[in-house]
């Protein structure tokens, strides 16, 4: 082997050229992605921003949504999201704890659950919609309702939620598990006082991913929470989520494009708020709790 010899001028030149090409390609990709996002955002804001008045947020939609605002739509969206989180977060956290902390000695169970989740995460949302309709609306007799929609969404985001919460817990170093065990602390106390707080930034990231997916969902809600535009009186009423409203206005309602843009901007702002809020929580946490060495 004489690889250690300094490269001749020619090969060095060739390597440098290859480096430049690779760097250039990477830059191109970055620029394309940024441009694509920028274009969508600019298009939305250009058409939609002028509609964003207080009235648009707090008035009821009229003329199938062509006129008026989004009041009942926003209420339905938030209700569905709340139901989804109320069901998915406890179950997701429990499953993540089971996978990350309790399945070490029983690897086969852990592997089986993880595989199933990865398969579920890849199932198209329309399938979840059909399942939700058959199970929650028909079999459990909930009909088209916010409750059925929220629970269907919960089923849909659970795989993603569990996997990212589990990842958050796994990133906590074993040093602290050993330290706590050696001090005779119970598993529950270790989780509550040390592991969960230490994993919080990771957990928040998981939550944001889950909420993002839930807010953006259309197909699964079409069959479960329905598309009635009225203000819902209870969780058993049908209600229309923002994403469905946008879909309906742009595809089925002539002259609805303007308000569709407005609604899309509202949805975008909601997603942005969730992200920034989560970032702020994680940041604040890390200021008070320095991470591992």
């Amino acid at each position: 082997m004489d690889d250690w010899l300094p490269a001749s001028g020619r090969t060095r030149g060739r390597t440098a050229a290859a480096d430049r090409t690779a760097a250039g390609a990477a830059w191109m990709c970055a620029v394309i992605v940024t441009l694509a996002f920028g274009w969508i955002a600019a298009d939305l804001l250009w058409h939609g921003l002028s509609r964003l008045t207080p009235g648009f947020l707090f008035e009821m939609p009229q003329l199938s949504g062509r006129a008026g605002g989004l009041a009942s739509i926003i209420v339905s969206t938030l209700a569905i999201l709340a139901i989804c989180l109320a069901a998915a977060v406890p179950i997701g956290l429990g499953a993540a704890i089971l996978l990350a902390e309790y399945s070490r000695s029983d690897r086969r169970l852990g592997r089986f659950v993880r595989r199933s989740l990865d398969v579920l995460a890849g199932v198209p949302s329309i399938v979840f919609g059909l399942f939700g309709n058959a199970f929650f609306c028909v079999y459990l007799g909930m009909g088209f309702s916010l409750l059925a929609g929220g629970l269907t969404l919960a089923c849909m985001v659970l795989p993603l939620l569990i996997r990212s919460l589990e990842q958050g817990l796994r990133e906590v170093p074993d040093d602290w598990r050993n330290a706590a065990a050696a001090l005779g602390m119970s598993k529950a106390a270790t989780l509550r006082s040390i592991l969960l707080p230490a994993a919080l930034p990771g957990l928040v990231v998981g939550l944001v991913l889950g909420m993002g997916r839930a807010l953006a969902e259309t197909a699964a809600l079409l069959f479960t929470s329905g598309y009635v535009m009225r203000m819902p009186g209870s969780v058993m009423d049908s209600g229309r989520a923002l994403s469905i409203h946008i879909f309906d206005l742009s595809m089925n309602v002539p002259g609805g494009t303007g308000n569709a843009y407005g609604a899309a901007v509202v949805l975008l702002l909601m997603l942005l708020t969730v992200n920034l809020l989560a970032l702020a929580i994680a940041r604040r946490w890390q200021l008070t709790q320095p991470g591992p060495l």
């Binding site: 050993n178 330290a179 050696a182 005779g184 709790q289 320095p290």
Partner: protein, 275 residues
């Protein structure tokens, strides 16, 4: 440093019942396997109470595994299987009915890498104390001050008890971990190369503290620093690997082991010819 007895949720009586007169820890034919592969075999050893006992030997011969048997941290390692008889203060701790939380409250441990929790200095000591039933504020405060003073940390941190423990230096962190273990008033302290991640000065401080523990606690320490074993240990055990399986080759008073080793492998290791 007189270890006061803690009011306890778990009665200690069972653990302190009838140890043999001079030995805090007695091992008979101890074997540890990882996924069916033996890490060491047939280790029999009696660790004198109230003394400092050092374990030396090359890496991979099972010293850490042996320590982990004594507080059954081995239970947490997937694929780890322990066989043999282990008695701590006369109690058979391999008994499946043995309450692990009580055992570990009586058998403290210091790790190679300092591992304070990502909490404040105060919470680091308070948390395990609360777990073991000390909940009154004045008592907690007194106990925390006492153990921090015992490890020479009180004057350094008295003004910042509520600041993060991870902001301390490595040596201070290790002393905090020692204080945290001492707060539970253990009988036995296991130490797995407690100085090897520290600078010489911090290492010397820890060593000094260990010496001061003599008499009140039974200390079992693994060290790669032969000079340290020679300086602080009353007894020393020498481990060696044969065919990938660890063995205890020789166990004797430190002075004897270092000056008149019986086994040629011990002699060679001590002279630094091997390992």
């Amino acid at each position: 440093m007189t270890p006061p007895l803690l009011p306890m949720r778990h009665a200690p009586s069972a653990l302190l019942a009838n140890g043999s007169e001079q030995h805090a820890i007695e091992l008979r034919n101890l074997c540890v396997c990882y996924h069916g592969k033996r890490a060491f075999r047939d280790i029999s050893l009696a660790v004198p109470r109230g003394e400092i006992t050092a374990l030396i030997g090359p890496s991979g011969c099972g010293k850490s595994s042996l320590l982990q048997c004594l507080n059954r941290l081995t239970d947490m390692i997937p694929g780890c299987h322990v066989e043999g008889d282990v008695r701590v203060e006369g109690l058979n701790i391999m008994d499946p009915a043995q309450d692990l939380l009580t055992l570990r409250r009586h058998v403290g441990m210091l790790f190679q890498r300092p591992n304070p929790f990502p909490l404040s200095i105060r919470r680091n000591i308070e948390l395990p104390l609360r777990e073991h039933g000390v909940i009154r504020k004045p008592e907690l405060r007194a106990r925390i001050e006492q153990v921090l003073d015992d490890v020479g940390l009180w004057d350094e941190v008295r003004d910042r008890l509520d600041s993060p423990a991870l902001a301390l230096s490595g040596g201070q962190q290790q002393r905090l971990c020692l204080a945290r273990a001492l707060a539970l008033a253990p009988r036995v302290l296991l130490m797995d190369e407690p100085c090897s991640a520290l600078d010489p000065l911090a290492s010397a401080k820890i060593e000094e503290l260990i010496v001061r523990l003599r008499g009140q606690y039974t200390v079992l320490i693994v060290t790669h620093n032969l000079g340290q074993a020679r300086r602080i240990a009353d007894h020393t055990g020498f481990f060696w690997t044969e065919d990938g399986i660890g063995r205890l080759v020789e166990f004797a008073p430190t002075h004897t082991l270092f000056n008149q080793p019986q086994d040629p492998r011990t002699r060679a290791y001590i002279r630094g010819e091997r390992g």
